[in-house]
């Protein structure tokens, strides 16, 4: 009897844990978006104000950012030092690292635009381009905060609920 009760308990806890894990991932999305915006602001500063070449600018970002963005810019820096073009390097780094992030496809489609024309024009142009993307990211981040709050709450309950439902079915 106690074995069965233990099993039920584990099922509820397991499902609940899974729910909490998903909720935590959901909460990371607005945070990652916020950090992406910060990174783009820093990149813009490096390009516009100090004309830093991209490999060094990415190295600076690698130092300033937290994981997972730190790894992202680290890889970019390496690729550029190997002589890859910035646009390709940006695209390939996203392809290689997107699984580490908790961002959604719509976020990536916007972030992919950063790579288009990156480093290929003068400072003014680069500045305009980065600013435009930041402006588009801002509402996305706001929405994602609201979305994440709801989703996270839902998943943190839903996990346990599913566990309980499972137990009820089994009984």
């Amino acid at each position: 009897m106690s074995m069965i009760a233990g099993g039920y308990f584990l099922l509820v806890m397991g499902c609940g844990g899974l729910g909490l894990w998903i909720a935590a991932r959901v909460r990371r999305r607005p945070q990652e978006l916020r950090e992406a915006m910060m990174a783009l602001t820093l990149l813009d500063t490096e390009i516009f104000w100090s004309s830093t070449p991209l490999p060094e600018a990415f190295a600076a970002l690698e130092e300033r950012m937290e994981k997972p963005w730190r790894l992202f810019f680290g890889e970019l820096k390496q690729r550029l030092r190997r002589g890859e073009a910035a646009g390709e390097a940006w695209r390939d780094t996203i392809a290689a690292q997107r699984a580490v992030f908790c961002l959604k496809t719509e976020d990536w489609s916007l972030l992919k635009d950063v790579g288009k024309g990156l480093g290929r024009s003068d400072r003014q142009e680069q500045h305009k381009q980065l600013e435009l993307i930041q402006r588009q990211l801002a509402p996305l981040r706001e929405q994602s905060a609201v979305w994440a709050e709801k989703q996270a709450k839902m998943w943190s309950y839903l996990g346990f609920m599913l566990g309980v439902v499972g137990v009820l079915i089994l009984i």
């Binding site: 070449p53 991209l54 480093g119 400072r123």
Partner: protein, 362 residues
């Protein structure tokens, strides 16, 4: 007396490559050094052109001077002696069969040469060339963006001229003995030559020799100040010179000569000041000021001959004032860096003449 005899007599150690005769180049077979040379520059070109440059085996790397990329024109490689058109397999072919450079090739090459940061190279593009690590220089032409009475940057790049840098060690030894006085001190010297005759290479090596000192000539190392207005001498990249200019050399990069000379005299106490391409009115004053402090001058100017130099007002003024104690004339007659004549312009005394003593320039 030939230069070679002179060195044998003076027991100055002459390293290979110092006095390369054109005949020697005829008996050439590809070596590992050539292979490494070509591969070392291949990564600056795009995906299509990189392998082509990396696989060149028909031309000795040491002889290659320029790689020319012009939009929709055949890929051209210029050596000291002739032009080669290259096809996709890096063979030297007729221009009709050669690889035609595309706009994508130019774009990719420029991206690699600027580390994908064209905006960061704006200042260099404004001057019309980029300096790469290793001292290679890349001339760029395209459409200029004109604003506020000056060129802002270049866009729609139409041609690149990749000038391969070869460090020619000890070429300066061929003329240095003539530039020293009885007290083993340096004389005020002006190098004259047409473009691509090895003027910059020569002066660069002289700087290194002066700075490090040459025991064979009983020349002690001197503090040398270099004003590198056009960034050609040192090829500075983020404070680091691409060339070895010696251990007692201070370099002021991208600074106008007239101001740079005064700055160096004030701050670095040089014994020799080196600049290239004299010719603006402000240089006269600056040189006079520097000379008052006892600094020796080593400089260059564009001119095919001494007569042509005298035809240029600023040079005529400087030479007329008796500023220079030695004039060296270089040409491409036997490859870049051929020394034609070394003389004292004040009394016409000749120290060396490649065409035999007493014969004047023709």
């Amino acid at each position: 007396m030939t230069l070679r005899d002179y060195f044998l007599a003076e027991r100055v150690k002459l390293l290979p490559g110092g006095l390369k005769q054109p005949e020697e180049a005829e008996r050439w077979t590809p070596t590992n050094r050539d292979e490494a040379g070509w591969e070392s520059i291949a990564h600056w070109f795009g995906r299509a052109l990189g392998p082509v440059i990396g696989r060149v085996r028909v031309i000795p790397f040491q002889e290659a001077e320029e790689i020319r990329l012009r939009i929709k024109q055949p890929l051209l490689l210029q050596t000291t002696r002739r032009d080669h058109f290259l096809d996709e397999k890096s063979a030297s072919v007729s221009w009709q069969q050669a690889y035609a450079v595309t706009s994508a090739d130019l774009q990719e090459a420029l991206e690699r040469m600027t580390y994908s940061s064209i905006y960061a190279a704006e200042q260099e593009l404004r001057q019309g060339f980029l300096t790469l690590p290793g001292g290679h220089r890349v001339g760029v032409t395209g459409e200029t963006v004109w604003q506020n009475q000056q060129v802002q940057t270049l866009k729609n790049i139409s041609a690149l001229n990749f000038r391969i840098a070869h460090e020619v060690r000890d070429i300066g030894l061929t003329i240095l003995p003539y530039l020293l006085g009885a007290d083993h001190g340096m004389k005020h010297t002006l190098l004259l030559s047409a473009p691509r005759a090895g003027k910059t290479t020569m002066i660069r090596d002289l700087v290194r020799l002066l700075s490090d000192g040459v025991p064979g000539l009983r020349l002690a190392g001197q503090t040398v100040g270099v004003v590198d207005e056009r960034g050609e001498l040192a090829g500075m990249r983020q404070g680091e010179p691409s060339y070895n200019l010696g251990m007692r050399t201070d370099i002021l990069d991208a600074c106008p000569k007239s101001q740079g000379m005064a700055m160096l005299v004030r701050s670095m106490a040089p014994q020799v000041i080196v600049t290239d391409e004299l010719g603006s009115p402000a240089d006269v004053e600056a040189i006079a000021d520097a000379m008052r402090t006892g600094v020796k001058i080593l400089s260059t100017a564009h001119a095919h001959s001494f007569e042509e130099a005298l035809g240029r007002p600023i040079l005529k003024l400087l030479i007329g004032q008796g500023v220079f104690e030695r004039i060296v004339i270089l040409s491409r007659r036997k490859g870049p860096g051929t020394v034609e004549k070394i003389f004292d312009p004040r009394d016409g005394r000749e120290f060396f003449n490649a065409r035999g003593k007493g014969r004047s320039e023709d």
